[in-house]
Symmetry: C2
Subunit: 238 residues, 2 copies
């Protein structure tokens, strides 16, 4: 499949305000802009592969990308789902290691690639930017610590409920109460987020639906009763 390029100036990117590049000086931003390559990807295409060496940073302009690891038996665990404005592949780049995960497009995406030389140049010349990156990375670490504790001691039911709430917060549509999870996730992908079997997710989702906590709208899920869902997640001690 041929790579389809597109082009948008970083300074005009609608997601700049949500991105870590926000606050960069015009010169620094144009340094990024002048060296980037922007590519359109179709659902199912891979951005990078586990075990390969990073050569730059990806910055999401449109679409959704899942970052996941495969275990020995081929079971997938989704570490993160990147949305517009997010950086992608920065962990391995900054730790100077190989990618430890694979990135695959979930919904048709537009992604800009910034060669590592240019990214590092801006990073090193700009302590305030570096500080923002460090803060974001360390915040992300905190999120992962939370996930670890959750995975260790919560039931699948609790984890599914908690993840639905998290997905609503993170990928909820603007307006209309933000109750629709704006992600066309398969049951299999949802299982890979929660860390369980596909069949278990299917059963629990129909439980939640029967209890009026959620509803299905096409491939998407709407959260009908966030409070009861939070109780299922054991976030509220009732």
């Amino acid at each position: 499949m041929a790579k389809v390029e597109f082009n948008i100036a970083c300074s005009l990117c609608e997601h700049l305000k949500d991105s870590l590049f926000n606050g960069l000086s015009p010169e620094d931003l144009s340094r990024i802009n002048n060296h980037k390559t922007c590519i359109q990807y179709k659902k199912g295409q891979n951005i990078f592969y586990e075990g390969t060496r990073p050569t730059g940073l990806y910055c999401m302009n449109a679409g959704k990308v899942k970052v996941f690891k495969n275990n020995v038996q081929g079971k997938e665990f989704i570490i993160y789902i990147a949305k517009p404005g997010d950086f992608l592949g920065y962990r391995a780049l900054l730790s100077e290691e190989f990618y430890q995960a694979t990135a695959t497009v979930l919904e048709d995406a537009k992604i800009c690639f910034i060669p590592k030389e240019n990214f590092f140049e801006v990073l090193q010349k700009n302590p305030a930017f570096m500080k923002r990156v460090v803060r974001a990375v360390c915040h992300e670490m905190g999120v992962m610590e939370e996930k670890l504790a959750e995975l260790a001691h919560k039931s699948v039911r609790e984890r599914l409920a908690a993840n639905l709430l998290m997905l609503k917060e993170t990928y909820g549509m603007e307006g209309e109460g933000s109750s629709l999870i704006d992600l066309a996730l398969s049951r299999e992908d949802l299982a890979s987020i929660v860390g369980t079997a596909t069949e278990t997710v299917i059963r629990l989702l129909s439980d939640f639906k029967a209890d009026g906590l959620i509803a299905f709208e096409g491939k998407k899920i709407r959260v009908l009763d966030a409070k009861k869902l939070a109780k299922q997640a054991d976030l509220i001690v009732a």
Copy 2:
């Protein structure tokens, strides 16, 4: 209990070579040194608490400290065990958030405290140091991604075996084949590392012992057959 101070110049600290402070200029190192407070802690004392605001960085000189989260039912999950040379509490400091975990002394410890102003001063004046910190943080994130995938899809038996091997690598004594895990962990703490119940750890440990994979030496565990243990951990697909 009164706090017992002690003092060692950073430049003479035997763990400097293993620490992120290694490579700092003499001026920067003395800036750290001149503002630090070094305290001796007894087993069971707390260094910091979940929900409080960090005011500086801790740097381990001796002993072992567990960093853990408590869930709603009071079950503990150990995120990390800090050893001499390690930084402690840097995540919340650098993300400018409250501590998300509590730190408690496992083995009598000597820990230096560096006020955040002085740490940030050195960090900002020294791009190479900043880069090393970022690299270390991102490496740690990779370790956590690995743990997440492991927790999601591996059995308790596999996780216990994998963690015993990890503990051997990380806390193994120098010399004598490094096969003795130099950590006096209770069964309960080990369960909090693996993410399971204490009884399950006890049963699995006696299985491993019966199979000649490990041996108990006082409160410590010796790995007798790392290869078979790796097979139990499903790290080797036989």
